[in-house]
Amino acid sequence: MRAGGAASARRCSGRETVHMAEAPEVLMSLDALGAQLQQALQDHPAPVARDIALLIRGGDDPAAAAFRLQRYQRKVDVARQVMSAYDAGIQRATDPTPLPRDGCLGLGWLFWRQARQGARADRLRWLNSAFNCLDQAGPDGGDAAGAQLQQALDTLLAATLDTA
C-alpha cells in the first residue's frame, strides 16, 4: 500500500514521533472514515455537503478543488460557520442553514488530509482549520467519527510540531 510503504520507510529513519501519525493501520482507519463521511454526504440535500463528498472522493480539477477548499477554510476560520449553500464563488450564503455535523467532520477530514503534505507552515494552517471544524461540528454526539478525527488531528499536530 502506498501510504503504508512510505510510513514504513520513514519509520526506519529514527524519527518515531513523526511516523506514529503515519502508521498504516491508523491511515487505513482514517481512509475508512473519509469513505464513511463521503457516503453519508453524497446524497445529502445540502449542496455544500454534496460538494464536500465530491472533494473527499477526489478526481476533480486540482485547481478548482483547491479553490473550493480554500473558500471553505475561510468560512470556517473567519466567518466561523459554514452554511449549507453558497453562490458560485463560495462568497455569499444562499441557504443560511448551518452545515450539518457530518459536513463539518467531512471538511475537517479534508483539512486533515491537506495537513499531511506540504510546507510545515501550511500544514499547521490546515490543522488549525480542521480543529475549528471540530468545534463547529459541536459536542460529540456519541458517534466515533468526531473522536477519531480529533485523535488524528492531535497526533498529526504533535508530529508536525516535531519537524523543523
Binding site: 475561510r74 476560520d77 501550511d122 488549525n128 480543529f131 468545534d135 492531535d154 499536530l157
Partner: protein, 304 residues
Amino acid sequence: MTRLPLTALVHEGPMSRAYLGLLRAQGHRLERIVLLVQSRDAATRRPVLPWLPAALRRPVARLLQDMRMNHWPRQFLQRQRADYGPWLQQLAGAYGVSPVVFDSLTERPDHQQYADVVQEVLADGLGDPAVAAALAALPARSTVLFTGGGMVPASLLALPNCRFIHVHPGVLPDIRGADGLLWSLLVRGRPGATAFYMAPGLDTGDIIQASDLDLPPLPPGFADLDPATAYRLLYAVVDPLLRAVHLGRVIAWAQAAHGGDLFNLPAQAQQADDGRTFHFMHARLRQQALARLLPAPAAGKGAA
C-alpha cells in the same frame, strides 16, 4: 525632544499606548494625534449616550473606551504590580528600552503629552466619514501611523495627502493575518515584526523593515497561567511592546539614514502570491505556541 513628522491615528488600546509611550521615552514628540473616539461601546456595540450633544458625548465616550480598551494592562500591571514589576524591568531591558514605556499602558489618557496637536474625532469606526474628513484635512505628505488592528478602508488609504504606516507582529510576507505573534512563534520559532506602508488588502503594501525578534522574558508563574490569561497577558503587554520596539528601530534608522523623512522610505514591494495568510489560532495550537515561549527543559531531564 525631537519633533517627529508623524501623525498617529490613535485607536485606543495597549498598542497605541505602547507606541506613544516608547516614542516619548525615546525623546520624540509627534506632529499630531488624531484620536478616534468610538461612538459605540466596544463591549455592547450600542451607541454611547446618543441623545447627548457631541460636545458632551465625546468625553464620556472617550472615558468609556479608555476603560474598555485598557482594562487588561491595568489589571495585570497595576493590580499585580508587585508580581510583575521586576519582569517589566527585565522585559524592557531585553529590548533596550526604558521601562517607563509601561506607564503609558496604564495611565489615564492625556494625549497632549505625546503630540503638538491632538484632534478628537467621534466616529463609528474607521469607515465613518468624520475620520476621512479629519485625515483629508491633514497637510500634504502626512505620514500616518495606524495604531489599531484589522483593515483600514481603501477609501482612507487612497487619500492623496496621507501615507499609512503599520507595524504587523510577524515577518511579512511569511506571516500575514491574525494572531501574528503566536503564528510567528509556531512557524519561525520566535516573534517578528514588519513595518510597512499600508495598501488595500490584508497586510499587503511595501515593506520598510521586517525582522525576527528575540524571545521575550516571561513573568514568574507564566507557565501556570490558564491559557486564556496567558493569551491576554501577551496581547496586553508583550505584543504591543514588540511592535513599539520595532517602530522605534525603524524611526532611528530613518533618522540616521534618511534624514527622518518617514513618508518616502525605501521599501520592498510585496507580491500578491507571496507568503501565507493565517487566521485566528485555535486553542489547541495556541497552547503549543505559548509553550514555545517557555524555556526548554534542561538537557537529559525527562529524556527516555
